[in-house]
């Protein structure tokens, strides 16, 4: 029989060693831009934060509440679009625009929830995809407000001032690094708080068995919508951040199905329904997709000499591997589901537990 030792699902306090590690890590992350100024490294760190925010947001609805939305691009893209439209066409700075984005996303989420939560299991998944696609197509067709398929390019971000002092004018990656870090920490803290509250218990009860949860006094519609709203608001925040950081959005890059899939992947690969899962998922996926994009993997293959760069296969790899990230993600998911059903984190936990048993 399985004795529960995992402190994550019990409300016991953190261990002193854990607290020490967390503080060291935090100090390191806050000092990082002072030690490393290479823009590409900072860029990778920012992507890690962004992925963590996206994964953690999905985690609340998918991981804790068990509602596998594959339409989170709807919230990511809506947040991105509202922020960008307000900034570009109404001169509203993004730190106000993101709140407007969240407000619109809550409305969108309530509409989506009222449609999708009538359905369970695979039907819920399909409905979530369909609704997100409707929003993507709307963004393409509502040219007057979204600029359609051409997308929106930022010409200038207004400097962020407190009183008269300019805090930052967004000319380097450093301000984005800190914003990303703070947002990532914020989503982690929110998840932690949810997990240790009545909400967390109710969300997990719904995930484990809806009928049992219902019979024990849990209003399914209400609590599923709460989970969705929290999840959608944080995803919207990620979308706003992404849009301002990259400076350009169009329907496929922020509302596409592959964004929805990527959000789910971050969680599934790391381990759903745990706080560390999305962080680990981001640590796996971001470097992987960067390696694919910059053709690192193809050149590594050529270096080993298995395939010659000049051969037909070599040319094929060079041209296609960079675009094959969706395929590679798919393979990754199959591997994770087959061999690590509880994600990378769960897999290593199970391994150490086994070692402990053998040692005892």
């Amino acid at each position: 029989m399985k004795r529960l030792l995992d402190p994550e699902t019990t409300t016991g306090g953190a261990s002193p060693a854990g607290v020490l590690i967390a503080i060291t890590l935090l100090v390191f992350l806050f000092l990082f831009p002072r030690m490393v100024s290479d823009p590409y490294t900072l860029h990778i760190m920012i992507l890690l934060f962004l992925s963590t925010i996206m994964g953690q947001s999905w985690n609340i609805l998918g991981g804790y509440t068990g509602q596998y939305s594959v339409g989170h691009a709807a919230y990511f893209g809506t947040g991105a679009y509202v922020t960008m439209m307000l900034m570009q066409y109404r001169q509203v700075p993004p730190w106000y625009g993101m709140w407007a984005g969240m407000a619109v996303v809550v409305a969108v989420a309530l509409i989506i929830g009222s449609i999708c939560f009538r359905l369970r299991g695979p039907y819920f998944v399909l409905a979530s995809i369909a609704v997100a696609e409707i929003i993507r197509l709307s963004a393409i067709n509502l040219k007057e407000i979204t600029n359609g398929a051409e997308g929106i390019l930022i010409t200038e971000i207004p400097p962020f001032k407190l009183g008269e002092t300019v805090i930052t004018d967004f000319l380097t990656k450093v301000p984005f690094y800190y914003i990303g870090l703070v947002l990532a920490l914020l989503t982690i803290v929110i998840t932690w708080l949810v997990q240790r509250s009545k909400l967390g218990y109710y969300f997990q009860a719904i995930r484990e068995d809806q009928d049992a949860a219902h019979s024990l006094g849990i209003n399914l519609t209400f609590y599923k919508n709460i989970a969705l709203i929290i999840s959608a608001m944080l995803t919207s925040l990620a979308g706003s951040f992404y849009a301002v950081y990259v400076g350009f959005i169009d329907p496929p890059t922020v509302l596409g199905l592959d964004i929805s899939v990527e959000i789910v992947l971050i969680c599934i690969i790391g381990g759903i329904g745990t706080i560390y899962g999305p962080v680990i998922g981001a640590l796996v996926l971001v470097p992987l997709s960067e390696a694919l994009r910059s053709n690192l993997i193809a050149s590594a293959i050529f270096k080993t000499g298995i395939v010659s760069e000049e051969s037909g296969i070599g040319n094929f790899l060079k041209e296609n591997l960079a675009h094959a990230h969706t395929l590679i993600y798919g393979i990754l998911v199959v591997v994770v589901i087959l061999f690590m059903p509880d994600g990378v984190l769960g897999f290593f936990k199970a391994l150490t537990a086994k070692k402990h048993k053998e040692a005892a």
């Binding site: 399985k2 409300t11 218990y201 997990q204 484990e208 068995d209 006094g217 209003n219 329904g273």
Partner: protein
């Protein structure tokens, strides 16, 4: 005044009448046995009473209030809650967390919920198991967990669907004691059970269902002496 009135309840699945025109009443604090051959419509009646399905016809009045249109969560808040014939543990949560989910129906504080949960875990005799994952418990303990969880919702009335099903005699005996303990707490109970000896011991009154219809109602003595009941059981087995 009766705490529960079942008024001409019928439930149809397509052409099948899983319940047809069932009526009876229960007094506060009593244990009502609900028996009948497999497929008689016992579980369906529980589903109709606790809001899983709206009855096709008829009404259920609990504590003076019609349950018409209420969903299970609302029914639970009003003080009536059921267990599941096929147990439904929240598998990836610990035993105490499972029972806390029930307790959280009455409080927003995790600390209070934990205390309430530990109390009920002791009542059902799972004290040693509170930190174990619910999914890993053997069947006897899962059944007890079902009972602890519903007790934690502080109900006025419990509906127990075959809590002794699949248990060995020693475990069944524990459940019988548990039901009598719950009765002493003043909680009204309706109990579905196939074990006739057990049902005779715990029930104040018994309702017999057969093919969806109420075949008989009375004290345990009246039921064993009822030739229709004997025929229904012999006919079906």
């Amino acid at each position: 005044m009766a705490i529960l009135e079942i008024k001409h309840v019928s439930k149809f699945f397509g052409g099948l009448a899983a319940n047809s025109d069932v009526s009876f009443e229960m007094e506060q604090g009593m244990v009502m046995g609900l028996i009948g051959p497999n497929g008689a419509g016992k579980t369906t009646l529980f589903n109709c009473i606790t809001g899983y399905y709206p009855p096709s016809k008829g009404d259920v009045v609990f504590d003076g209030r019609s349950m018409h249109g209420l969903l299970p969560d609302k029914v639970c808040k009003l003080g009536m809650v059921r267990t599941w014939q096929k147990v439904r543990p929240l598998a990836k949560m610990s035993v105490v967390d499972n029972v806390m989910v029930g307790a959280l129906c009455r409080t927003g504080s995790l600390k209070k919920a934990r205390d309430m949960a530990m109390e009920q875990i002791k009542v059902v005799g799972l004290g040693q198991r509170s930190g174990f994952l619910a999914g890993g418990l053997p069947i006897g303990e899962r059944k007890k967990l079902e009972v602890a969880r519903v007790l934690a919702t502080q109900p006025k009335m419990l509906l127990l669907d075959e809590v002794m099903g699949g248990l060995n005699p020693a475990e069944s005996e524990e459940i019988i004691h548990l039901i009598l303990t719950i009765k002493n707490l003043g909680i009204t109970q309706m109990v579905i059970e196939h074990d006739m000896k057990a049902i005779m011991r715990i029930s104040d009154r018994i309702v017999v269902l057969n093919s969806g219809e109420k075949l008989a109602e009375g004290t345990p003595q009246e039921i064993v002496g009822n030739p229709n009941v004997v025929a229904a059981y012999l006919g079906s087995e």
